[in-house]
Symmetry: C2
Subunit: 490 residues, 2 copies
């Protein structure tokens, strides 16, 4: 409980087992202040599910298991309330920069569409044939028109937004017919729409809304949850696991009936869910019998809703992102949306993708220093120059006015993270995709016949990064250039 | 949406089907003000369940089906926010009266206990042998020690209170073991503890917490819900209804397994629940086959957690309350708690109970004019004189200083309500209990052998009220005395 510069550690035992929504409500009541902000974990975090997230008003810090970390520290929630005003260093210059920012957003070609529909657009990756289907066996989910943007327009009941944002890309969706009538959620966002349709091979808008809310309540990352479910389905179909392993659930692609029950089981680590709660890498290791081939992850983090075979720089980012297969670390908007910044790219081409991936990762890192939305870099909504004006007028640090310096900051951040990983034993051996993505050509659809050419792409990337091609470790020369010599073990 | 003297009617179609908690959250988000207060209905109100309530932050306006009225008007919620200060007429005198009020509360013999445990005390009526069990067949539930105050002390995780109240009799309870581990609720209050234990004959603290929360979420009055469930159990045991009627549910006293499912069915009017959603009177009428004998209600309102055979003035109030069998209209604290105001009474005696019931009803009516908590009159926590000082200093109306005037106000209110009922066709024929309470002596326990002597008690009451003994209608003399001549049809 952090308030106006003071902090206090409070007994939260009465909140144990409560879902994220209830936790928010009761904390605000306990503190008798409805404006308190809360970051909490749900039952999944308490149970240290490896892909439990941290939740704030139904918004998730989903990936990488931060919720499990809180759970391991017996930390149910952090509540924050401040009353002081935020004072930028140079108020006038800051206001001027904000005006430029607003103008940049408004004049962005995607602004209107993004503002109206948000990320609820499963069509764009299905059209590209890279919507991972049936545990990444295929690239198009049948009847994807049932989960495209126009369908979500029909069930949207309200727009939402993050604090003070003019884009308001968020949505509240509500199902009014069928099995899930009455279910609603904030979202689902693109990744979640995928997570409960692609992996099981059924484009069911009702289930995806219900599953989204359930994951928000129980405190689960939807991406890893959906990926783990698809993994289980494939093992079941291949006979690697049977009903004896799945608590009697019949996991057949094309039947999404067991999904809700699986989510619950994972969150509470009940029966079969306890195994899936370990994530696909560890679950595969425990199962054995060749299950590892079907665990679609990088560095233990399950892949999101993009098949790397359909977009090579996007794939290269998933391969090399410092937290594992994370699409937000260096989104290749050039390949997915055709954004021509820094220039146009062919999504299947190999050439230049190392350099492009570096560019995407560094620009993300530099925008994240200001805790800006990750859509800013992925959709190139704000020139780096304007961002620099915001930073310098807010902080008084003149260097931020220089875009070259900002790029250096971005690159330095990414390399510092890499060196952290190197210290922990990571390297080239961990920048690898599961066999399927490299050796099984996409069987059908607009990405038919494509594989991910891991070897040449990775080498190109290491070269662009100035890293050693044999080990994947930043060279001393590069580290010196970035002022990161201190990261080298003596 | 009422705010600072303005009002606005907003489209709430996106809230349809949402539970009460979610409705609160989304309205506060829509209005971008977390301090907005909300009074809303849940799915049960939308479906016009006859005993649906109106809910504000998990507090229920439960009895009488006000939620169904909102539902019938297509009104999902009322949101209110004001910013003006409340100014009492005479600030100094008001503060002085408040000090007297605080002193009166603090010096009340029950203050400490009530403040610590609230109403979570199922022991007091079990000890009196009037805890209605198995649809009012018995007066003691087996193993009631499992739901007594000390058990709730163990599962209490926090105290709560209404705005600004110093008593904070509210509780948040959470179950940590067994079938309902992880379930929590605000409450359950005494009536709710009864509603999901007595009617089915099982003292299960876990179920009562889970059922309480479910009713709060779905928007149901717990008393009528529990009563309706006990009614269904009895019909099932007697073979009046069978599994063919109950959607396959086996309703046997001593087995509370079907309760949660029944609550859900009632709220959504699914299958058998659609019938129970009509309340016991109407459900019995539709079922026929003598079911009416087991419908425990007055004027269509299901009886609460007090068997009238064990406390005659308390029963007389249930019999004559203007909204049907409501314990809050004229609670006989003299019989239940032994409160010696206006004097001591034997709970089984008939003598003087007409006068006492009038006293209890009028004192409740007069305290309700100030929208005070109904525990004030039922536990006699505040002298009428002090209340008068509060009212007069707040409003500037001098008459309120005179206790005689306040008593007149109370009596006038009660008679005005009665005349409203008379106009709608109510009379002596509606001041009746079901046969069981009058003809079946309590079989066991501390109230063994007792019946409710309806005829003499009612006559005594009418006499005390100055009503016609044959018709139960206030005499013209009485109405004139109260200034209510205008209520008589010409």
């Amino acid at each position: 409980w952090i308030h106006d510069g003071k902090y206090e550690i409070r007994d939260a035992s009465y909140l144990l087992g409560l879902d994220c929504d209830d936790t928010h409500t009761l904390i605000r009541e306990e503190l008798a202040d409805p404006r308190v902000r809360v970051a909490c974990i749900g039952p999944a975090g308490e149970k240290m599910v490896r892909f439990a997230g941290i939740f704030t008003d139904r918004r998730a810090c989903g990936r990488g298991g931060a919720g499990a970390v809180m759970g391991s520290k017996n930390l149910k929630a952090i509540a924050i309330r401040g009353h002081k005003e935020v004072q930028p260093f140079d108020k006038e210059a800051f206001s001027e920069a904000v005006r430029e920012q607003v103008k940049a957003y408004q004049s962005h070609p995607s602004f209107e569409n993004f503002s109206q529909t948000g990320t609820q657009i499963a069509e764009f990756t299905n059209v590209l044939g890279m919507f991972p289907t049936k545990n990444f066996r295929e690239g198009v989910v049948p009847n994807w028109n049932l989960i495209e943007g126009s369908e979500f327009n029909k069930i949207r009941v309200r727009k939402t937004r993050c604090f003070s944002c003019m884009v308001h890309c968020g949505n509240i969706s509500k199902i009014s017919t069928g099995r899930f009538a009455g279910h609603w959620s904030e979202g689902p966002e693109y990744e979640t729409i995928w997570a409960f349709t692609g992996p099981v091979g059924v484009a069911d808008i009702g289930l995806t809304v219900a599953a989204d809310k359930l994951c928000d309540d129980l405190g689960l990352d939807t991406i890893s949850t959906g990926n783990a479910i698809g993994f289980a389905y494939e093992l079941f179909e291949r006979g690697i696991i049977t009903k004896a392993d799945t608590d009697g659930l019949e996991l057949r692609f094309g039947n999404n009936e067991p999904v809700i029950e699986l989510i619950r089981k994972i969150a509470y680590r009940e029966g079969f869910g306890d195994l899936l709660a370990e994530g696909v890498r560890e679950a595969a290791r425990r199962i054995g019998k060749g299950a590892e081939a079907y665990a679609i992850h990088v560095k233990g983090l399950e892949l999101p809703a993009y098949d790397p075979r359909g977009a090579k720089a996007h794939g290269l980012n998933l391969l090399t992102s410092n937290i594992g297969a994370d699409h937000n670390t260096g989104y290749a908007g050039q390949e997915i949306f055709g954004i021509p910044i820094p220039k146009q790219y062919d999504r299947f081409a190999i050439e230049g993708k190392g350099e492009l991936t570096k560019w995407n990762q560094d620009v993300t890192a530099l925008f994240e220093t200001g805790i800006l939305c990750s859509f800013i870099p992925s959709m190139m909504m704000l020139p780096v120059e304007v961002y620099g004006k915001l930073l310098s007028s807010a902080t008084g640090i003149e260097e931020f006015r220089d875009p070259q310096y900002l790029w250096l900051v971005g690159e330095r951040i990414f390399n510092l993270e890499r060196m952290f990983n190197v210290r922990e034993g990571f390297g080239k051996k961990d920048d690898v995709f599961p066999r399927r993505l490299k050796e099984e050509p996409m069987p059908e659809g607009p990405s038919k016949g494509r594989v991910f050419e891991e070897e040449p792409l990775r080498e190109d990337y290491y070269r662009a990064r100035g890293w050693d091609i044999e080990t994947g470790i930043p060279t001393e020369k590069k580290l010196k250039e970035l002022g990161l010599e201190f990261t080298v073990k003596k």
